[in-house]
Amino acid sequence: MTTRPGTKRKSRLQFSKIVNSVPISLALYFTVILGIIWLAYSGAQAMGYNWQWYRIPQYFYTLTDDGFQWGEIMIGLVKTIQLSVTSFIFATLLGLLIALLRLSGLVVGGAIAIAFLEFVRNMPILVLLYLFYYVLGPVFSLDRYTASVLCLAVFHAALISEIFRAGINAVPKGQWEGATSIGMSKAQAYRYIILPQSIKFMLPPMTGEVVHLVKSSAIVSVIAVAELTTIGRNLISDTYMSFEIWFTIAAVYMVITLALSIGVSRLETKYAVRT
């Protein structure tokens, strides 16, 4: 051996220390962002694109003689948030149910849970949306919005149920025994002992899931639910400002998801100190 593993490891450690330092990470981040902007800009230049950023603010808000008015993007944003929050609530409840079925030890329960999980997880969300809107929609007379909420809820419930299952399984078995030995029923053990402890295992993947949900809510633009992406498409067909509008819409999505990530990491530190 010509290289000693010790030195190699040390130099790698130093390398990752440098790359992970805040100024370097920020510099890398901005280089990438600037690169993308430059590419878009030079691409647009080559096409002879006429940038009209000054026309964007009116889609956020307008101040006229009639007074202050929210613009279309803000209305779309509210709709996206409403859609995401409603879907997430349903997805969490359904996901918990599926996870508990899977963990129940009942053969039938487990089979139902696994069938649901595999069915949903292996289907593209677009197909699922068509299924809800064009197939189940007429049967149960679902409007666009309801079909969208159900589609997102069902799709993400499958993924969330796996997060719940992993989180619940991560709590040591002795906790069940402790709870059982003082006479708690299974439901009480879940509620007071197991679930509170599994939150810290579930928060990080759950954040990823919420961010994923907000982004996948854009899919419902194909059935013209008036959320952020639909608004974007409509504005582009009115104004032909594809670059400006899509960049703006992307930035709005990023603001939501970043706010979520930061909020949850606060929660994580709160739950981490408890144990």
């Binding site: 025994e177 030995s181 003082i182």
Partner: protein, 247 residues
């Protein structure tokens, strides 16, 4: 000693798959009796006492605890578990709750008593295990010996009539074993029925009314401590004792 059977076990077998963990177990524990079970590891001691409060279930034979038949899925299990306290080798305290909450959650949620009354009860039992000052800490902030004493208090808070101990001192640092044993000796003096799986023979000599020796899922010897420690009937038991008492 008071009369009346507290635990009665007859012809019990238990299997894990094809492995037979318990074979033809017969044992009675009288009210107020202190029974110590010992034997080499894997002999089924823990499995046996875990069958007493339905943490595990036997496959054949019958177990009756305080008049309640222990059976999987039985409605009476909840009542049974409130009568029978259990202390585990690994404490199994609830790490997300304070000591006081660990002690009150059973009485409040299971027995549905008022919070103030539960806390009063909890403080009384913390006093009994000599750590009243730790009430507002979390389990991770306590030493192993203190945690195990909290676990004992948690069981006592359910006003149990029987206490099961599953190797309560095996996970402790040597200097903490005595503080737990002291509490157990004091508890034995209150007249509660105790079944204790342990290798602490000094403790056994001090409190046991009856010694049980198990090996390979069978009970090989049941006798009074005097006879047990000086002249046991089973040669295997004699060998076991000579090995653990030699040092």
């Amino acid at each position: 000693m008071n009369s009346g059977e507290m635990i009665s076990v007859s012809n019990v077998d238990k299997f894990y798959g094809s492995f037979q963990a318990l074979t033809d177990i017969n044992l009675t524990v009288e009210k107020g009796e202190r029974v110590v079970i010992c034997g080499p590891s894997g002999s089924g001691k823990s499995t046996l006492i875990r069958c007493f409060n339905g943490l595990e279930f036997h496959d054949s034979g019958s177990i009756t605890v305080d008049g309640i038949e222990v059976e999987e899925g039985s409605k009476a299990l909840k009542t049974l578990r409130q009568e029978v306290g259990m202390v585990f080798q690994q404490f199994n305290l609830f790490p997300h709750l304070t000591i006081l909450e660990n002690l009150t959650i059973g009485p409040i949620r299971v027995q549905k008593i008022q919070k103030a009354e539960a806390e009063e009860r909890a403080r009384k039992y913390l006093e009994r295990v000599h750590i009243p000052e730790q009430a507002d800490k979390f389990p991770a902030q306590l030493s192993g010996g203190q945690q195990q004493r909290v676990a004992i208090a948690r069981s006592l808070c359910m006003e149990t009539r029987i206490m099961l101990f599953d190797e309560p001192t095996s996970a402790l640092d040597p200097e903490m074993i005595n503080e737990v044993l002291d509490v157990m000796v004091e508890l034995a003096d209150t007249g509660i029925t105790m079944v204790c799986v342990t290798h602490e023979m000094g403790f056994a000599r001090k409190v046991a009314d009856k010694m049980v020796f198990m090996e390979a899922g069978r009970i090989l010897e049941i006798s009074e401590p005097d006879k047990f420690f000086t002249n046991p009937d089973s040669p295997r038991c004699k060998l076991f004792l000579s090995q653990i008492l030699e040092h």
